[in-house]
Symmetry: none
Subunit: 424 residues, 2 copies
């Protein structure tokens, strides 16, 4: 069994001011390659604490150590130096890397009208590479490192996830890392996604599948409620393939309507495919632009996204979506009738053939007995009159309710466009 440890550096992570995204992400990547992650250690910017963490990983006989953070230009960014000492490989200036960083910084200095020489000097330490280590090209200005250290290999990556993630691929391609990973047996895995079913029901289904004679112990099943959807992750070695297949079949059979993805495809990706050739207009109130933001998150959205009217005020619903103020007066801004009028208005104003509207009580104030906080009305419709209307009560706090509103909008859009029966 190949074991790995992850060291996340940064006082801002240790003190809880920012939450660590890198440890869990790297852990998932390693698990997918059959590497067992034993420890994630978070340390501040003190060199002696980072060194202690590295020595702990060595004492625990990790084959692979991955660090994140501490590669910036400031004095408290000390990871390269500490790892170099740990691996007993003195730091040397990598002239080629210095030139790459200089190239990146020239544009940067120009944009911010900074003294180029001063910026370059501050970033010179980022081009220091331990002897015999592999430098990984920077995504920002900080190069990563792959450093052989006796019986183990240390991968050194920068802290910002958007730099770390692309550099991870380069790290895996470095020879010392390849050699370690070649000794691990990769796990197979699939991810199913469901919407509109509680986690406890999945646990029940799994017990039933086991009672039907499927040996669940042969696979590793993780069920996780993630941003309003259930993600079921099944990992297994080659020899357990038929068990894994039976688990999938058993779950789909029991939750056909709720299962929307068998291959880890997200609802956002599915909706993007379904929207090809269509023109979408949105009308949002309580979701406050979050549904539009989700739709436009994927590149290429301009092919089908006409726009969204975020009509927070009632006058905006009237002025920009043509909702009759008398209807709002009679039924209330949060009502299936106003949701319908908003969706029809979006079809018309955007010249769209698909529209979704969302209006609800996001809270914490504004709830009534009849329409409590979390009561949300949706209307998803095609220009031909096909419609899915729902008005669920969503649990949770303001942020949850807003996010869930956008998510339900995505699922109704999928059901509307694919003709699948909605799970709620």
């Amino acid at each position: 069994m190949i074991r790995a440890g992850i060291v996340v550096t940064g006082t801002e992570v240790l003190t809880g001011r920012i939450s660590d995204k890198n440890g869990p992400w790297i852990s998932e990547q390693l698990a997918g390659r059959g590497v067992e992650v034993a420890h994630i250690v978070i340390v501040g910017d003190r060199p002696e604490d980072l060194d202690a963490a590295l020595r702990f990983m060595a004492a625990e006989k990790m084959d692979l150590i991955v660090t994140s953070g501490g590669l910036g230009p400031t004095a408290d960014d000390l990871t390269a130096e500490v790892v170099a000492r740990f691996a007993d490989r003195p730091l040397q200036l990598d002239e080629e890397m210095l030139e790459k960083i200089a190239e990146i910084l020239r544009g940067f200095a120009k944009r911010f009208r900074l003294d180029q020489a001063a910026v370059l000097e501050a970033n010179r330490k980022q081009a220091m590479v331990p002897e015999g280590a592999t430098a990984l090209d920077p995504e920002g200005t900080a190069p990563g490192l792959v450093v052989p250290a006796g019986e183990r290999v240390v991968i050194v990556l920068p802290g910002p996830p958007r730099e770390l993630r692309p550099m991870w691929t380069a790290a895996l391609a470095a020879e010392p890392v390849c050699e370690v990973l070649a000794r691990a047996t990769p796990l197979r895995a699939y991810t199913m996604r469901m919407f509109g079913v509680p986690e406890s029901e999945i646990a029940k289904s799994l017990r039933e599948i086991e009672a039907d004679g499927v040996d669940l112990a042969a696979v590793e099943i993780t069920t996780c409620l993630r941003r309003g959807e259930i993600e079921i992750d099944v990992r297994y070695r080659d020899e357990a393939t038929s068990v894994a297949d039976k688990v999938r079949e058993g779950l789909v059979e029991r939750h056909r309507r709720e299962t929307f993805s068998l291959d880890s495809e997200t609802i956002d990706q599915q909706v993007a495919v379904l929207l090809q050739g269509h023109k979408l207009g949105l009308a949002e109130s309580c979701s406050g632009g979050l549904l539009a933001a989700r739709i436009t998150d994927l590149s290429g959205a301009s092919a089908y996204m006409a726009g969204s009217v975020v009509a927070y005020a009632n006058e905006a619903k009237a002025e920009l979506l043509g909702v009759d103020p008398a209807l709002i007066e009679a039924k209330g801004a949060v009502s299936p009738e106003v949701a319908e009028a908003m969706a029809i208005g979006a079809l018309e104003r955007f010249g769209a053939d698909v529209a979704v509207s969302v209006t609800g009580v996001a809270g914490p104030d504004g709830g009534t007995e009849e329409k409590p906080v979390g009561y949300i009305c949706f209307n998803a419709r095609l220009a031909d009159g096909t419609v899915i209307a729902r008005d669920p009560a969503i649990p949770g706090k303001r942020a949850d309710i807003r996010e869930r509103s956008a998510l339900i909008g995505m699922h109704l859009l999928r059901n509307l466009l694919s003709g699948a029966e909605p799970p709620l």
Copy 2:
């Protein structure tokens, strides 16, 4: 200096399927009491890995160790057992605690129609307490523990944050913990926020401040790039107050325009205050609703937020914001002129007195030499004609550019409403 380490247990946390909320939370609590947290270690449900983490904490001479998780009734919940062995204090059945748990479980078993005897038997292990340890009353069914272990004290808490947090107070009241905390000196702290300055410039300013004779070693300064803003966190003991003050003065003096917050207030909070008594209309293209989503994220936004037109398609810019199609044809949808027309359209259509427009090239496609990916035009204006217009080139990928667009929109709004000079 009193030092502490935190051990978070749970395979679901280690593998990244759920994100750890306890480590950062405990860390913040301890920092507020002047305890320096050196390490947070995340381990899975393997007893030997938990034991290794505890031994690491002992080797690093932690005065206090706090664990979370692994106190449930199932076979893989082993924290109490491992800590008892670590502290060399055999587990003993605590009859009083068993009765308390039984009391809780009787209601539980009844509600779920479970076999009471079976449930009690499964939970019997939760009443096992290391000899000489203090048991903390459960919030769920798992009691916590305060276990003296030679020169240090181990606080053992359950994993669910809603159980851990109330039990933390009880843990602090336990005598062995009081004794450790009495030796710590609480830290003071402030957080400054800046926008529109690179991190390397802050490093340079700090070097200058030090060269001016301010003893930076007397305070702990953390600089962190967080979602496009720089967060500078300064922690210090009473006797270093004048140094901390000089650091703040020195930084403000050098970055007056870029410093928007001296007291950890966020840009969102500031904009919310500034918008009181106003009516805001937005016109978004490339930010795709993210600016509206940010504005409506805070409760109470309906007092000033009229809405946003997310005009992704050019026809939507014309139809919903009254932008002259000939202007779009002549200048391009991404141009200061169209941004201006969008903002004026938002003022009119929403009947607003403040408007911000954003139109740009989010990429990855659609860039030209003249208007590359990341080129974004902003127009922030009041009904009286006061205006701030900017068209910066934003670095990064689609997601960064979109998020940064919304952020710049927030800052321009702040500058427009407060009369402060914009940092870019």
